[in-house]
């Protein structure tokens, strides 16, 4: 149980440090234009990687399971202009149905 509390404490401090480094070290100064261009694209690259890892990752291996169907539903639903809530909660419903019939 101590392990759990150490993990929580360190992750809380580390997450705060990661979020605060820029605002405190950089202040109101601006970044060089080249760095700015990278920052502008970071969310796309990191979010895509998170989606891949959380959809297909299973520890250190890749698997194709009901999660992929759920995520595909969310993507299609959003393209069809469904609200965010419907797209995300629908993903769970689709994954649950897929597991129920499998």
């Amino acid at each position: 149980m101590t392990d759990v509390w150490i993990t929580i404490a360190v992750l809380a401090l580390a997450t705060a440090a990661l979020k605060l480094f820029g605002p405190l070290a950089l202040g109101g100064r601006s970044l060089p234009a080249g760095v700015f261009a990278v920052v502008e694209l970071l969310a796309s690259a990191l979010l895509a990687a998170l989606v891949v890892v959380e959809t297909f990752g299973n520890g250190r291996s890749l698997t194709l399971d009901a999660r992929a169907l759920g995520v595909a539903f969310a993507a299609v639903a959003l393209r069809l202009r469904a609200p965010v809530t419907v797209a995300v909660l629908g993903a769970a419903v689709v994954a649950a149905l897929a597991r129920a019939v499998a």
Binding site: I8, L31, F36, E40, V51, V52, V88
Partner: protein, 229 residues
């Protein structure tokens, strides 16, 4: 999807915060559901109190799910911490991007920095590399409330809910990030950055420790920034 653009910067801080609150409502509902799944999954591993404390002080889906998976599999504390930090390393980049848009004393800049989450940071981007800080705080506000309340519900309802996989709860988290991604990706350079990031993560997942594939995906942003817009 009706895209609500970040409001004009000349509006008062309160108006911008309110606009952010409205933009954040759908995210908050989704985040609450994801937090329920975290509470359900975490209780057998961490007990009843620790998952709630974790959601209050860490407030990060990626780090919480990532470190939980390692602890649940019997991994070491060091591995769980390292994975959580790597999964959150993107906040370093997000904070650096936000910083030039912040004014005021260090304490005020720090408060805005703490309000960074993926959805609000992306929503507050003005498209020219600058950010609307109060709008970002607004988008974050109810996501934090929902994250904590959802975790409490998940912990309490855990035994009634049973196997979270049977309910498809493990699909909530990637679906949420897919929604954020789809709203973010417009134009050639962002599409290239997303495709590159996804490819890097696919290739590295079997080869590298958890978290590293996501951090390495930042290289795709560097490469895409060299492309013509």
């Amino acid at each position: 999807m009706t895209a609500t653009l970040p409001p004009d910067r000349t509006e008062s801080a309160r108006a911008r915060w309110r606009a952010g609150i409205r933009r954040g409502v759908p995210f908050s509902i989704a985040v609450t559901a994801i937090a329920v799944s975290f509470g359900v999954l975490a209780r057998p591993v961490m007990g009843s109190v620790a998952p709630i404390v974790m959601s209050i002080v860490v407030f990060s889906g990626a780090a919480q799910f990532g470190s939980l998976a390692i602890l649940a599999a019997g991994g070491s504390v060091g591995a769980a911490i390292a994975a959580g930090i790597l999964l959150n390393a993107r906040y370093l980049a997000m904070g650096l991007g936000l910083a030039p848009s912040l004014r005021g004393r260090p304490l005020s800049r720090a408060a805005f920095g703490m309000a960074i989450v993926d959805s609000s940071w992306a929503a507050a981007a003005q498209g020219d590399g600058t950010f609307d800080p109060w709008y970002m705080v607004g988008v974050t506000t109810f996501q934090y409330v929902g994250w904590v309340i959802g975790t409490i519900v998940g912990v309490l309802a855990g035994s009634a809910i049973g196997d979270p996989r049977a309910l498809g709860l493990d699909a909530l988290f990637p679906a949420f990030f897919a929604v954020l991604l789809i709203e973010e990706v417009r134009g050639r350079r962002r599409t290239a950055a997303a495709a590159g990031g996804a490819g890097i993560a696919l290739v590295l997942t079997p080869l590298a420790p958890p978290g590293l594939p996501i951090l390495a995906a930042a290289l795709a942003a560097v490469a895409a920034s060299r492309m013509r817009p």
